[in-house]
Symmetry: C2
Subunit: 369 residues, 2 copies
Amino acid sequence: MASPIYLGVVGVGGVGTAFLNQIARLPNAPQLVLLARSSQTLLAPTPAYSPAIPAGDWATASAGPSLTKKGALPAEEIATYLAGVPGRAILVDNTSDLNLARAYPLFLKKGISVVTPNKKGFSDDLSLWKDIFSSATQGNALVYHESTVGAGLPVLSTLKDLVATGDEVTRIEGVFSGTLSFLFNTFAPASSSSDAQWSAVVAQAKELGYTEPDPRDDLNGMDVARKLTILARLAGLEVSRPDSFPIESLIPTELASLPSSADGISEFMSRLPEFDGQMADVKATAEKQGKVVRYVGSIDIAAQSVKVGLQYFDKDSAIAGLKGSDNIISFYTKRYGANPLIVQGAGAGSDVTAMGVLGDLVKVIQRLQ
Amino acid sequence: MASPIYLGVVGVGGVGTAFLNQIARLPNAPQLVLLARSSQTLLAPTPAYSPAIPAGDWATASAGPSLTKKGALPAEEIATYLAGVPGRAILVDNTSDLNLARAYPLFLKKGISVVTPNKKGFSDDLSLWKDIFSSATQGNALVYHESTVGAGLPVLSTLKDLVATGDEVTRIEGVFSGTLSFLFNTFAPASSSSDAQWSAVVAQAKELGYTEPDPRDDLNGMDVARKLTILARLAGLEVSRPDSFPIESLIPTELASLPSSADGISEFMSRLPEFDGQMADVKATAEKQGKVVRYVGSIDIAAQSVKVGLQYFDKDSAIAGLKGSDNIISFYTKRYGANPLIVQGAGAGSDVTAMGVLGDLVKVIQRLQ
């Protein structure tokens, strides 16, 4: 007889809401007994951990009398609550909170499995990475985080399969940011010509909601660097920090120190055209070689090198031909030879990110049962 | 305490040998207690099921006195032997034998999980497909068959994840045969021109070992049709048989009835040039539209249609840009929108096929423990 499974979910932002809507339609979904957001925590009353929280309709249920309501709970209290369920517990962290990620070892040691799209914990200090996985072993719990790279695309599962079956991964290369993919596919398309200025393309992406509220959070390359850190570690490289390797920032030095306030962002956007000449030069240099420029991350396992920045690609290459805001990830391995194993598609967005989380959850449930 | 796991393997051909070499290097591999090939079956002696067979060195061990040796065993006897292990058992079928596949329900009902790259059982009568999966439920056993489509590429796992998380798959399209990929990438390359005759390209592929011994076994489209049958069924279509939908054969009608003997194959190859004009016409028609011709399989879920045959593609499309003998599989879904989720890479070859089998085996072990 399978042990019953109980679920605690933190975060009800874009991905969190999409996840709750998806799990509400999942047949035989585990009981949702905890739902935490910044202002409030909903709990199925102890000691029975019943009734459960309706995933698709938690807001209505939170107004009724049947659930326990508390304010924001520290991670320790969430862990204690979940450790008490009469079965196995899984924490789904749909936030991007480093502090919650730092508490994963605490959950895992108590036997609570973790499923999350939160990059922070897996791309911070190497010591946290090691602590997370040794705690999982210690607590006989599982950690799945497919959506930390490429959202719902099968990127980490593919890399893990390659490694687990003894293939030798030699190089990983790709476009890992939907935002930067859109910017360069629009600024320097491979199959047509464009005379759009760089700053205009950034402004367009911002208006379409493709960038972070402060576009510098995309242009600084740190999001890509965090994803590369995770991939490199899974491939066996001991990357100490996400800023311990070369990262080419696309923020002009002169604009880097503007504050991240609304005024600062506004000044950044209005002064960005001053630097259009620099990006136009980069594009022209690529053109002269019959190539296009793209913002990529690459990992060379043998050379133990990780880097993030601009590179030129042949116009008929898969990276140059990318459309919209798609990601592409190429795995070069001994068994696959000269032509890499490629995964491509939307690598951002609430629905596909939540799908990656739910896919992980299904696998964790299968393994715990 | 995890239940010990025991392994029976059938087949020591190209994929079987690659699999045995790979599992020999796998840490904590399960005990290999049965190894069957057409002429002989090696068994760990009962009742202890010990000593186990050394996966990487079974040939030497088979000459020694410690293992039980029998002739070819019927599937029933293999199932009875594996059902007796003091733990959980997994059958790995590395053959392409339909008769062994017909016995999967027997294994599964006895609680023996099945891992295989053998397409036959999953692409034959729909009744066998249903029998396999209902038997698995009945016996509380698992069935994994990633390598039946695209070898080690994450094709079936991706489709299963899309379906399990409630995405709506609308269309699946791709190049599913390494042989046909090579033939068309060489005959009608997208980024350069070629004046090679069709028959010469087929002869070249045969010489390189890229085709079956009788190239008509590739050109008749049945291998692609079987893969499409599996994908369509996983996507929810009840395909009755692999020949229950339109399959465009590339074998000229006049040569279809030549015997499959060495003489027949030789006559086929020598008469194929008579039909080069037909394929040249197809290529020219595509050229006139600025396109290239490719041999693809496609599934339209809403229209419940499956088809296999020649289609024209824009030269800058991912399918047209395929290299070597790579496969490409595009999943169009509601969540992914206009740009599909794409998986691409080598879809044939002993090493990558065996890797897909081993990857499945690792997942089955994780779930059984």
